[in-house]
């Protein structure tokens, strides 16, 4: 008897509806749709996050599997489960008396033949009873998510679970808003970010300014792997002189064999009070300390920081008295800002051009900027520098924009700028987000042609308002309930996505949703590898050699 089973195990029994996975049995617009899994399908082959299509009477409902549950019609079966080895009974019960219910969330509804337009129609109805649920086909994916061949606004981000067709991000829509990339540590945020950046660079959708705290975007970055660690190429390697490398710590860059295009120095006078206020959390300053800073600035204008730091130990009480500031908070402010003195990139007086001017120059030329921090990996340095530079570049952008609004001359139109920041919650936590430049940029949308790409492992630490302003979110696995909730802020019917999010693989899987995709989708992130480099226009060593040869041949005409 048991031989007979060997053939059967694991194989579908009736190959009639080969891609049908179930039929709709229940549903509501608010709760989503339930389907009974076809008995020939093993529940273990159906995964949360899977992209499926419900074939309604008039509409196709592109949906995501959000939950799975085991059910039985007769409680006796659960009291006396079939004996181990009674595969016949097991198979008989499977699908009839014991069955699997799959919760689906229709995400997008298309009438037969209808194409996805930029603003997809929300799902306004549900499929009728017993509508077939089928695995999405390759053309369904491209119909919904577009394809790179069709249009240059689409950028391949990966594939749906168990499928090979690319899921694309609509970059035109992506750059219209600020966006977020989330995931707990080690899940591939940086890889995702690199992907997205490559997309924007390759398709020339925006100019990027990347605050590269961990030195992983410009030049090569580490890739953990089962067979030891290796390195992957950075943006500079892929895009050459379309990318400019700025460094706060040129010594460190050189040590890694990188010649930065520019060194960045910051003069004390360039630090505004807002820049310090933005550090409130990091420096654990209380509100009165910030007030004291304003008092100092009111008195000494842009020399305020130099003035404050020049005062020494006991002199501070007197200084406070002069200003009419709270002594203890001013001394705390003094003590904490004193750390800035130790940053090697701080200079009293700039020699050469102002970094911001250089950056603006590059930006105007459409050249992307990666700012490496080298060994200056302290959060304080990172926050300080990112704030100062961003604030100042933003100011410039405001001017440019206003000029453009006034002249309405297309030549005056500023280039769309995307600023990438890691550890975003440090800039955008609820206490500082109201005041910092990044909070402002996030909230003002793209009025001044600047938007953010926030990368963070603790989205719950980011101000809710900012989170809800993010147009597109790409999130890898998150475990913390608060983080999941944070990411899903502002998403309708978040319940289904919650379980999907929590069940992602810990690497190279992500849930994308929001402005730049017609519907939420789980992807296996595109491999960041040789194939990818080539797609970005990079050549292998041999090809480079070949090309050089061809070039010289052309030159010398042999």
């Amino acid at each position: 008897m048991n031989e007979l089973w060997d053939d059967l195990n694991g194989k579908p029994m009736h190959d009639l509806n080969n891609n049908q996975i179930g039929v709709v049995t229940k549903g509501s617009l608010t709760e989503g749709v339930e389907m009974k899994l076809n008995p020939d399908r093993s529940v273990e082959d159906v995964k949360a996050g899977k992209f499926v299509v419900i074939e309604g009477y008039k509409n196709q409902f592109f949906s995501m599997i959000t939950d799975l549950s085991l059910d039985a019609t007769n409680p006796d079966i659960l009291l006396y489960p079939p004996q181990d080895g009674d595969q016949l009974l097991h198979s008989v019960l499977n699908g009839a008396s014991t069955y699997v219910t799959v919760a689906l969330r229709p995400m997008l509804m298309l009438e037969a033949g209808e194409e996805v337009v930029d603003e997809p129609r929300p799902v306004k109805t549900i499929p009728s009873h017993f509508s077939k649920v089928v695995e999405a086909e390759e053309e369904d994916v491209s119909r919904v998510f577009g394809s790179e061949d069709r249009d240059d606004r689409f950028f391949n981000m990966g594939t749906p679970l168990d499928m090979d067709t690319p899921v694309c991000l609509n970059l035109n829509r992506f750059v219209e808003r600020s966006n977020g990339i989330f995931g707990k540590t080690g899940t591939g945020k940086s890889f995702l970010t690199r992907l997205v950046l490559c997309g924007m660079i390759k398709k020339k959708k925006a100019v990027n300014l990347i605050f590269d705290m961990h030195n992983e975007y410009g030049f090569q970055a580490m890739k953990e792997g089962s067979s030891g660690d290796s390195f992957v190429k950075g943006l500079k390697q892929l895009f050459g002189n379309q990318v400019a490398l700025f460094s706060l710590d040129p010594a460190s860059s050189r040590q890694r064999g990188i010649q930065p295009d520019h060194e960045v120095h910051i003069a004390y006078d360039q630090i505004a009070v807002e820049d310090v206020v933005a550090l409130q959390d990091e420096l654990q300053l209380n509100p009165t300390a910030a007030e004291s800073a304003y008092l100092v600035a009111a008195m000494y204008k842009n020399k305020w920081l130099r003035q404050l730091l020049s005062v020494d130990g006991p002199g501070i009480e007197q200084f406070a008295e002069e200003l009419g500031a709270n002594k203890s908070s001013l001394s705390a402010l003094h003590r904490k800002l004193k750390r800035i003195d130790s940053f090697p990139f701080m200079v009293t007086k700039l020699e050469g051009a102002d970094a911001v001017d250089t950056m603006m120059d590059y930006i105007d030329r459409g050249i992307h900027i990666v700012l490496e921090f080298g060994r200056q990996t302290s959060m304080l340095a990172y926050l300080l520098v990112a704030n100062i530079l961003s604030r100042r570049i933003h100011e410039q952008y405001i001017k440019k924009s206003e000029k453009y609004y006034a002249s309405q001359n297309p030549a005056d139109k500023p280039k769309q700028l995307v600023i990438t920041i890691e550890e975003a919650h440090k800039f955008l936590n609820p206490t500082t987000a109201k005041q910092t430049i990044f909070g402002i940029i996030a909230r003002e949308m793209r009025k001044y042609y600047v938007s953010l790409l926030v990368v963070d492992q603790r989205p719950s630490g980011i101000d809710e308002e900012v989170l809800s302003q993010l147009g597109t979110k790409i999130t890898a696995l998150l475990n913390d309930e608060k983080d999941i909730q944070g990411v899903l802020t502002g998403v309708s019917n978040a319940a289904g996505l919650r379980s999907v999010l929590a069940s992602l693989d810990s690497k190279q899987q992500a849930l994308m949703f929001g402005h730049a995709v017609p519907m939420p989708v789980v992807i296996k992130t595109r491999n960041y590898d040789e194939d990818f480099y080539r797609a970005m226009g990079d050549l292998t060593e041999e090809e480079k050699a070949e090309k050089a040869e061809a070039a010289s041949a052309a030159l010398f005409g042999d």
Binding site: W5, L8, H14, D76, L88, V92, G95, S97
Partner: protein, 197 residues
């Protein structure tokens, strides 16, 4: 006798009692009835398909009973040959369908089989057509005075054998059965166990 179109060689019995839902046939040979649970059909313009649910052998005459002789079958055949002529084998079938130009249908026939029509075993293709799903089991489940569970077991085994003991088929029938007996789990597991033994 004119036995047009009937393969008189192949017949195994003759209908001697007939109604819409059941019929009785006398076996051509003593002890030569089709096995319990076998699929049979009657000859005639509208073949009627049935499932053998009872086989009995008894004295031809109501007032003569068989008595014990204490001999083996061969000894009896040699020395008491007449007794085998005094016995007859009859079998009863529950109707599970009839045939029309499209082949077997799982519906009761418009007319019961004619008395004296011949009974033949069903061809494998007919068994398959009659048992392509569990609907035929309804006739068994709703019939009166039938040994329901055992009949299900025996007939499913025949249907299964017609499909070279194909496991997925058995699983499909099991599912239909499960529905028909309204999730009676205990009964289902007992039936399925006995079918596959």
């Amino acid at each position: 006798m004119a036995l047009a179109k009937v393969d008189t060689e192949a017949f195994i019995g003759e209908v001697i009692e007939s109604s819409t839902s059941q019929f009785v046939a006398e076996s051509r040979e003593l002890n030569g009835a089709p096995p319990f649970g076998a699929f049979i059909k009657t000859s005639g313009a509208i073949p009627v398909y049935g499932l053998v649910f009872n086989v009995c052998t008894h004295s031809i005459e109501p007032n003569r009973r068989a008595t014990a002789y204490g001999l083996t079958e061969q000894e009896l055949r040699n020395e008491q040959p007449q007794i085998f002529e005094l016995l007859k084998t009859e079998f009863e079938a529950v109707t599970v369908g009839y045939g029309d130009d499209r082949g077997p249908r799982q519906v009761l026939p418009p007319q019961p089989p004619g008395i004296h029509s011949f009974v033949l075993p069903c061809a494998e293709s007919e068994i398959k057509a009659l048992t392509n799903n569990g609907d035929y089991l309804r006739c068994v489940l709703s019939g009166n005075r039938l040994p329901v569970d055992d009949l299900i077991i025996a007939s499913v085994r025949h249907a299964w054998a017609a499909r070279a003991f194909d496991m997925p088929y058995l699983v499909g029938i099991g599912k239909d059965l499960c529905r028909l007996i309204r999730d009676d789990y205990d009964r289902l597991s007992s039936i399925m166990r006995r079918i596959s033994q």
